[in-house]
Amino acid sequence: MTRESSLQNARVERSEHESRTLRTRESYVQDPRVQHSRTLTVLRTGPQTLIQDLGRPGNAHLGVPPSGALDVPSFTLANRLVGNPEDAAGLEVLLGGLSLRADTSCTIAVTGPTTPTWVNGVLRDSPLHLAAGDTLTLGTPRGGLRSYVAVSGGITVPADLGSRSTDLLSGLGPAPLQPDDELPLGDPTGVPVGVDVLVPVQVPDELIVPVFLGPRDDWFDNPTRQLSAGRWTVSDRSNRVGIRLTGTALDRVSCRVGQELPSEGLITGAVQVPADGSPVVFLADHPTTGGYPVIGVVPEDALPLLGQAIPGTPLRFAPQP
């Protein structure tokens, strides 16, 4: 899908939505000259801002990655705070720098690592209310990489295979945000949850990542010992496809050196070991099949922190029985 067509569709949907909203509110509108559209306008994106929801699992047999927010607990928390269903589409903001203008009044929550948040230049705590014309700006997060922004009503760009998530590997879903994009919002359906204090995500100084051996642990020489003795750091070549690790090379058993594996299905959290021995932990935009052996699988509940891990963070594996 091209960026043009995605935005066109978004605009068509928005204008239909607008006319519906105006019709239903006709009798209440006092001043017909004031027209607020239920959109957000992107002013700046920072290094990368993506629309995400809970992804499109269940399509791997078509070659379609699951995609979806990397830090799921932070993402669903943001939605609950603004009264959305947990799977409403929001924004995944890499390293801050996002600036938005609200074209309608809405409730916003920012979750994930500690992220300074300004409304019209004034530092504010989230969740917060925006009036039409207000601008929201996110600073650089501390203690993690990705902040999540939920907006009451959710972002209602058209869905691909039931999801609005941007999949950077296969190009499904909306394109990464650009300045001047207008993001259509749905109608708010629930009541925002009031909170005073949010506990931010904080990636520890050293990540200790649980891993269950298999399915191809037998390709490696004493895999438990190698995994628990190894020391790695999170590479700056990590992305939504996977966390690349630099450090200890994992050795294959001698009879498997130089061998190839016919491609096989991959699960999110799979620790794949390419020929050079440096492991990759696959995240939401991972390829659906792969030909390098998977020594083990990181359980789902350990993946959100990996999605927040700053390059250079030391990492160890803790093999599970």
Binding site: L62, D160, F212, G214, P262, L266, G269, V297
Partner: protein, 201 residues
């Protein structure tokens, strides 16, 4: 059949042939287990991902799979129209020791089956390729294979749903709607489908 652990709620079923892969895939699909999230066939394996707590039911179900006498897949045949004018058609003919017309007759005369998808959304690996057309990949892959290209490599043939890099030998091109994420059934070809190619002028 060997079951390999894949985290806490998935299993990788390893078998010996593409036929056995299809037997496992078709049996799991037919069992309609409610908690199976992903069912991913590949060359020698089937990955089964479940919701937490459902692995035991899957393992029990797998003990009932007959790898030899499976009923086979009953599916409609998808016919893909192809203009056989690909840039590697002469190379494929030369490698096979055939004329290009004979290559077209062979490729369009066979019936294929979708063994699995991967590489890109809607990219289906089709088995059933006649022996003379089983040929190696190009020495140097193309940086961009046009969408709709029909190609062969090893024991497979495929049609590229969209422009991607690729090293397969290109023999033709189709306008068939291979993948559209907005359609209720996004992929034209899914595992188990029978497929034929039809030469068009």
């Amino acid at each position: 059949m060997q079951l390999r652990r894949c985290g806490t709620h998935a299993v990788l079923v390893e078998v010996d042939s593409l036929g056995e892969v299809e037997a496992v895939r078709a049996a799991v699909e037919a069992a309609e287990l409610p908690d199976v999230v992903e069912l991913v066939p590949a060359a020698r394996t089937v990955l089964i991902v479940t919701r937490p707590g459902a692995m035991q039911a899957v393992r029990k179900m797998l003990t009932t799979v007959d790898l030899v006498h499976h009923p086979g897949t009953v599916s409609d045949e998808v016919v893909i129209p192809v203009r056989y004018d690909g840039p590697d058609l002469d190379l494929v003919a030369e490698t096979a020791g055939l004329t290009t017309a004979e290559v077209v007759d062979l490729h369009a005369g066979a019936t294929y089956q979708v063994a699995f998808c991967g590489f890109a959304p809607g990219f289906a690996y089709l088995t059933g390729l006649p022996e003379p057309l089983r040929q190696p990949r190009l020495d140097s892959p193309r940086t961009k294979v046009p969408a709709g290209s029909v190609a062969v490599a090893g024991e497979y043939t495929a049609a590229y749903p969209r422009a991607t890099p690729g090293g397969w030998r290109l023999i033709g091109r189709t306008d068939a709607p291979l993948f559209d994420p907005r359609r209720p059934t996004p992929a034209l070809l899914t595992p188990g489908h029978r497929v034929r190619f039809e030469a068009t002028p």
